[in-house]
Amino acid sequence: MAAPLTRIVIAGGGTAGWMTAAALARVIDTQHTSIELVESEQIGTVGVGEATIPAIHDFNRRLGIDEQDMMRATQATFKLGIEFVGWRRPDDAYLHPFGHFGQDMNGVAFHHYWLWQRQRGERAPIDDYSLPYAAARLGRFEFPDTDPRSVKSTYAYAFHFDASAYGRYLRRLAESLGVQRSEGRIVDVQLRPDDGFIDSLKLESGRRVTGDLFIDCTGFRGLLIEEALQTGYEDWRHWLPCDRAYAVPTANVADPVPHTRATARAAGWQWRIPLQHRTGNGHVFSAHFMSEDEAAAILARNLEGEALAEPRLLRFVPGKRRRMWNRNCIAIGLAGGFLEPLESTSIHLIQAAVMKLIEFFPDRRFAAPDVDEFNRQLDRKFDEVRDFIILHYKATERDDSEFWRYCRAMTVPDELARRMALFRACGVASYRASELFVETNWVAVFLGQGIVPAACDPRVACLPDAVIGARMQQMKTHIRKAAASMRPHAAVIAQHCRAGA
């Protein structure tokens, strides 16, 4: 009665396709269940993100990827957080660091003590209590300490890398594990007449690629999930108006810094992602509020190094497929949904979908409860990331353009409205245990965007003010010293993972 899958077909290479292929090849026996990835060299891939978050370590570990080796192959640099410039006000900046602020005392989160001191006239920004902030400012890096008593255990790191190179790196891994790659453009998707499941893909060469399970990694258009299965798409433009991006690489003008930068512009924002050999740049904007020409001009005006290529325009609709898993098709990557890379979550959302697929790995019967639960859990993951991104737009004091005035006034999802009201009232950041962004992430962005709670945790009053003040002073000193003792980011790269020429 068992009905194991015999053929898995992945439509589309790129980061999503190869991440899926490599991860699946690690857990299934490709002798019995073949994995074929169909991609065409004629179709460009959208190198999503290029910046990652620390959860990628988990993915790499599960695939048995050697970090140094991967970093060398992808021109990678280290990342300690994202600097947001001009989001709250045009002249304001903060870092969303991969790490804690200060030290909790008496079981009370640090930011409550910071608020308490602030209510007493202390003006030091909370960034002063973040080691990754201090290190990023100095352009320094060191691997975190595993000893929880050390201040150097209070942060994590991720990577900036060339996502296309990461895809190629995973391709080598996947092929070594038995994944078969086929070159060819998909010209048709054939459905089974009886149940509407996908039967096969027809390639330009005339070849038919049959399979039991199809993974749609064809990008925005969703060749299988949408064009063939008409699954439907939730459009989130009313919450996330940006729907275009110009991307362009530039030459490095200095040593790469260990953080991503996201600078707010009049109708969107601009990213800067430092790699070893170049810098990735892009301008994400809303076509409703700004013309493509103007957006291109803004990007050109705000590049720090020489452009190494013509800017490329990407069009997208922020949102999510109604069902990421529909019949025998699972959409992963942009085919499943698109959220702008403001918090570097694109690769993570691919990772989350691949891991869920492994958790709910089907056989040919495609049990409905599995499919429903997979969709329920991934929907939640997308909603959660979406809300976190919306927060950056909604919580702003900017009113210097039509775009920002729209964002300030827009209605946000109920869940986010509830979280914002709760934090504003009392400094409690509500999150679920399984969420990607936990208390420290929400606190960083809430405070960074200017939501200062009206009241802090009453338990701070258990410690005398003088004690709180002295301990906080001590934390600041420790952090300053720890950051200064780290090595220059470029020196760590040179020693650890310099890419070959």
């Binding site: 009665m1 068992a2 194991p4 899958l5 857990v27 299934i28 026996d29 019995h32 008496n106 079981g107 209510q119 492994i358 958790e359 709910f360 790995f361 089907p362 056989d363 019967r365 049990a367 409905a368 409860p369 599995d370 429903d372 639960e373 859990q377 509830r418 009201a421 709760l422 504003r424 009232a425 009392c426 409690v428 509500s430 679920r432 245990a433 399984s434 969420e435 009206a454 009241a455 802090c456 945790d457 009453p458 338990r459 009053a461 258990c462 410690l463 005398p464």
Partner: protein, 512 residues
């Protein structure tokens, strides 16, 4: 925040276990802040079931206060508990153990139980999940010990809660609370006075003529819900009404020798009999629909099932299954049964008391009427309650063949959708629908489903790439190692005697 509208006076209504636990927890957490805490110790609130059995996670409450397991052994008659044995369940003559902690060892990405599902379908015989759990094996064998600190042995995986006497534990917590400045006022409450403008509670009038004013009121009056229910008129959600038992009788029963470190739940035709072992005796609770049995009938039923009811008067406790619509309303927060009761089969109300206290401390009100915080507190309380209710419903997964009485699956077809979804998923593919804020993890759910005889229709297809013989020998070794490790443990009674005799500061490793 410490301005005129901050919380300066906390009043706890109820001098039972919940009330003193709340007072001790708040006193510990707010020491030095100048907040005063008064417990209105009402005789009514002390008429509560004596037998408490906690989940492993609840011990953190005591640890946080600096109260060790040994303190509970010496002062609250505590007894270790590794799980529950269900008897005459799901079918007559059957016995099924559900232990705390992890079962087996996952196979890469694949949860362990899929191995059992496949073995069973292939006609394998070693498919009792309890053979793959140290806690289950020790519970069955009546053995217990702590592993040495930092040991990476099988014994270090023993997951346990405690059984203890609620009155003794309340006394222990009372001493702790009074040492930390908590005031005690002993009297029944007559009425609660409310502010005209806000509706918030202003003060409690007591039978002895005194009045106790406060800014924040904690309702620990058990099923009475004297403040949240009677005063503030917050009603009970009806969705848990599909649970049949709302009357509990409790008897102290003589026992010869030591008991195994587990509780036993026997399903009879008219009631559940829950035997909770303490050191000096066993407490048997008879849990039935109100009106189905009187005290004498319950005692006779327990005696027929082997309980040596020792003649002391039975305690009778009535509760209504279901959650109060809001556990926190205005300036009143209810804990334990006052916030919502459930048949104490899978979870004792103390588990909700302690998690409620932890939640309350994490979100202690800044002002008397903190609507945002209250909303968040209530949201989390609701999720917790619903998970516990769903987990409890597994105990009613009974074969249709069982005779009538209350022994039918209550509300079959009327289950909450959260339960139906979980059940359908597990029944189809053995997958666990992980939910945030669920008190029970995958292991607990899987053990419960399998104990009830609900086996998935298929196992994880990824398991098929594994060599069955290799897995068999791997898990046979695990089973044998568990059996050997448990055989080397001392009998539970012997171990307890050793712990009691040990001189402080030789605290048991569990207190580290």
């Amino acid at each position: 925040m410490s301005g005129a509208d901050g919380i300066r006076r906390v009043v706890v209504l109820g001098g039972g276990l919940a009330g003193w636990a709340a007072a001790a927890g708040i006193a510990h957490s707010l020491r030095g802040s100048g907040v005063s805490i008064t417990v209105v110790d009402t005789p009514r609130s002390r008429r509560e079931p004596r037998a408490v059995r906690t989940l492993p996670g609840s011990l953190a409450f005591f640890r946080h206060l600096g109260i060790g397991e040994r303190d509970l052994l010496l002062q609250a008659d505590a007894h270790y508990c590794l799980g529950t044995e269900f008897r005459d369940w799901p079918a007559e003559g059957q016995r099924r153990l559900r232990a705390f902690g992890a079962y087996g060892a996952d196979i890469g990405f694949i949860p362990f139980h899929h191995y059992l599902v496949r073995s069973r379908a292939a006609g394998g015989t070693a498919v009792d999940i309890n053979a793959y759990s140290v806690s289950a094996a020790a519970a069955a064998a009546g053995r217990f010990a702590h592993a040495p600190p930092d040991a990476r042995t099988l014994v270090a995986q023993l997951a346990y809660g405690l059984c203890f006497d609620s009155r003794d534990a309340a006394a222990l917590l009372r001493r702790y609370a009074e040492r930390h400045g908590v005031q005690r006022v002993a009297s029944e409450m007559t009425t609660a006075l409310r502010h005209d403008a806000t509706g918030c509670i202003a003060s409690l009038h007591l039978a002895d003529g005194r009045s106790v004013g406060g800014d924040l009121f904690i309702d620990c009056s058990n099923a009475d819900a004297a403040l949240l229910g009677a005063t503030l008129q917050v009603g009970i959600e009806a969705d848990a009404a599909l649970l049949p038992c709302d009357r509990l009788y409790e008897f102290a029963c003589d026992r010869h020798g030591a008991a195994a470190p587990r509780t036993d739940c026997t399903l009879t035709e008219r009631a559940w009999l829950v035997a909770t072992p303490l050191q000096r005796h066993t407490v048997t609770a008879c849990l039935c629909p109100d009106g189905a049995l009187d005290g004498a009938g319950a005692a006779a039923l327990a005696a027929r099932h082997g309980a040596a009811v020792n003649g002391t008067a039975a305690l009778s406790y009535r509760f209504a299954n279901g959650r109060r619509q809001r556990a926190w309303h205005l300036n009143c927060i209810a804990l334990g049964d006052a916030a919502g009761a459930l048949e104490p089969l899978a979870v004792h109300s103390f588990d909700r008391v302690q998690s409620g206290i932890a939640r309350l401390l994490r979100m202690f009100p800044r002002t008397a009427c903190d609507t945002q915080l209250a909303e968040e507190y209530n949201r989390l309380t609701r999720l917790e309650f619903e998970h516990m209710r769903d987990y409890l419903l597994v105990s009613y997964e009974l074969p249709a063949a069982r005779p009538a009485g209350f022994r039918t699956r209550p509300g079959a077809g009327r289950e909450p959708s959260s339960y139906a979804r979980r059940r359908a998923l597990f029944a189809a593919t053995g997958r666990h629908a992980a939910d945030d804020d669920d008190t029970f993890d995958r292991h607990a759910w899987v053990a419960a489903w399998l104990a009830a005889g609900l086996w998935p229709a298929q196992h994880d297809p990824l398991l098929d790439r594994m060599d069955p013989a290799g897995l068999d020998s791997h898990f046979t070794r695990l089973r044998e190692a568990i059996a050997a490790a448990v055989a080397a443990l001392p009998a539970h009674g012997e171990y307890l005697a050793r712990l009691r005799a040990a001189k402080a500061p030789g605290r048991p490793p569990g207190d580290r």
